[in-house]
Amino acid sequence: MFNISTQALFAQLLVGLINGSFYALLSLGLAVIFGMLNIINFAHGALYMMGAFCAYFLLNVLGINYWMALILAPLLIGFLGVVLERTMLQRLAGLDHLYGLLLTFGLALIIQGLFQNYFGSSGLPYAIPQQLTGGQNLGFMFLPNYRAWVVIFSLTICLATWFAIEKTKLGAYLRAATENPTLVRAFGVNVPRMITLTYGFGVGLAALAGVLSAPINQVRPLMGADLIIVVFAVVVIGGMGSIMGSIVTGFALGILEGLTKYFYPEASNTVVFVIMAIVLMVKPNGLFGRA
C-alpha cells in the first residue's frame, strides 16, 4: 500500500482540492452565518440540498439551464433564507445560540422530510452542462472539465466574499453586531436588516454549492445531511468568525482527506475530527481564530 507513485499522489492532491472547493464554499456560508450572526445554521445542509433541487427544477420544469441556475437558485433560496430569518430566527436574537441550533435543526428535518416524501430517497439525475462535459488528460489523471470549473469558480466566489467582508466596513459591522447589537444599532446601523441580508447571503452560498454539486452527485434529499457536521468542523478548525480561516481550511481539509483516502481510506470520514482535536489542542481558537 505504501509504494506511492508520485503520479497517483498528484492525482489524489488534485481530487482533494476539488472536494475542498465544496467544503470551502459550504463552510464559508456557515462561517458567515455563525461568525457574524452567532447562529449555528444546522439547516445549511438542507438548504444546500434545496439549491441542487432548485437547479433540477429550473432545468426540468422551466427549461432554464445550468448557467442561469447558478444565479437564480442562490437568489431564490437566499430569499427563502430571508423569510426564515424574518419569521423565525429573528425572534431568537440575543438568546444562547443553542436555540438557533435547535430551530435550524428542526427546519432541516422538515425540509428534508418533505423533499423525501415527494422525491424519494434515491434522488434525481442532473446532467453536466454541455459546455463542460469531457475532460483533460493530464498524464497522471483524467481531469473532468466540470471539476476544473468547480475549483476555479468556487475559489473566485470565496475570495470575493472574503474581500467583501474583511476589506469593507460590512465585516466590522457584522462582527460588532454579534457582540453588542444594541450598541451597534444605536450607532445608526440597521442591525436587523443587515442580519437578515447576511443570513440570506450565507444561505445563498449554500444553494450555490448545491447547484455546483448537482451534476456530480445525485440530487438527493439527504445529500446535505451528512455534510453539515464535517463542514461545521471545518469552520471550527479555521477559527470561528474567520472568513479566510474557513476558506483555507476548506481547501486544506479536502487535500488532507484526499490523502487519507489513499493511505487509510476507512478513516477518511474521521480524519477531519482528528485534525480538529489536534488543532484545538494546539490552538484553542482555531487556526485563524481571534483569541
Binding site: 497517483a8 424519494g120 430517497s121 483524467f142 466540470y146 439527504l222 489513499y262
Partner: protein, 382 residues
Amino acid sequence: QDKNVKIGVLDDMSGLYADVGGQGSILAAQMAIEDSGMAAKGWKIDLISADHQNKPDVGVNLARQWADQEKVDGIFGVLTSSVALAVNGVAKEKNLVYMNSGAATSDLTNSACSPNTVHWTYDTYLLANGTGKAVVKSGGDSWFFLTADYAFGHALERDTTDVIKANNGKVLGSVRHPLNSADFSSFLLQAQASKAKIIGLANAGGDTTNAIKQASEFGITGSGQQLAALLLFYSDVHSLGLKMTQGLQFTETFYWDLNDGTRAFSKRFSDRMKNKNQPTMVQAGIYASIIHYMKALEANGSNPHDGVKMVEKMKSMPTDDALFGKGEIQPNGRKIHPGYLFEVKKPQESKYPGDYYKLIATIPANEAFTPLDKSACALVKK
C-alpha cells in the same frame, strides 16, 4: 379456530432505503392480503407498519412492542442487515413469524438462523455468486473493489472474492470507504490505476449511485474498465437514468418486466403508488412472502399464533407465486428461487417507460444460494 391474524411491515420509511422499501413495502403487503382472498374465507388480517430508521435498537424496540402490545404474529420486510439481525432475536424470543425481504446478510440463514425466520428475496451469497461468476465468465477476470466499510460491504467483498478466485479470476485490490461517502473520485482513481477490468461496487444506496455517476464523469466507463454493482435496485437505476447506468451488470431476483405475471402485478402496483414507480425486488419479496404465509395459515389448521409451527408449515409447503415462480424454503429458512443477471439497456434501446433491463443470464435456483451442506445453520441436520 382463531382466524384473526396481525402482521407488521417494519422498514426504512424515511431514510436512505425508503425508495427500496418504504411506502411501497406497505402497499405490497396490502396487495398481498387482498390478493390472498383470506377475507372471503373468514380471516381477519390486520396490517400495521413502522419506520425502523435503520437503527437496530429502534427496530428491536418496535418489534418487541408489536409482539407484546399489538399481538403481532408476523414481521415482514426489515431492510438493513443490522436491524434485520436484531429483529431476528426478538422474533425468536417472542415466537413470531419473521419473513425478511431486504436484508443482504446471509448470516440470517447461517450462524444466526432461527426456527422463526425465513429469508426471502436475496442475500450476499446470491449477489456475489450471481454477478461475480457471470462477470468473470464473460471475461471480466480481474477485479478491484470499492467496498463500504461495514459488515455488509465486507461480506459482499469476501463472498465475491471467493467466487472470482473459484472461477480463476483475480482480485487486484480494494479500498474500503466509509459509509455515505459523497465523493468517490479518489477511490475511482485508485481503481483506475489498478488497471483491473472490473470495478466491483460492494456497497449500497447512495454510495453506489454516487460511485456510478462519478465513474462516468471521470471517463472510467468509457476507458475500457467496467463497473459491476453488486447490489443495485430498480429504484437506483430509475433515479440515475439510463445514460449514467447503461451497460452495468448486476443481479436481482425480480424485475417488473420479466414475464406476464410480474407485469400484471407491477401494473396494479404502480397504479397505486403515489409516484407511479414500479416495484423493487424487496417490495416484491414482501408481497410474495405474505402470500406464502397466508397459504400456510390456511393449510395449518391449528394455532396461527405459534411462530415456529407456522414457519415449519411454510417450509413444508412448496412456494409458488407470480413474482418469483416456484420454489421452496430450506430448513435453514432460506427461500430458494432463481436469480437473474441483468444489464442496463442503452437509452436508445429503451422502448417504453421503465424498460431498463436486458436479461443476460438466469442463475438456477439450486445454484443461487448457499448449498445446504455448506450452511452454518444449526437447524440443518448434517
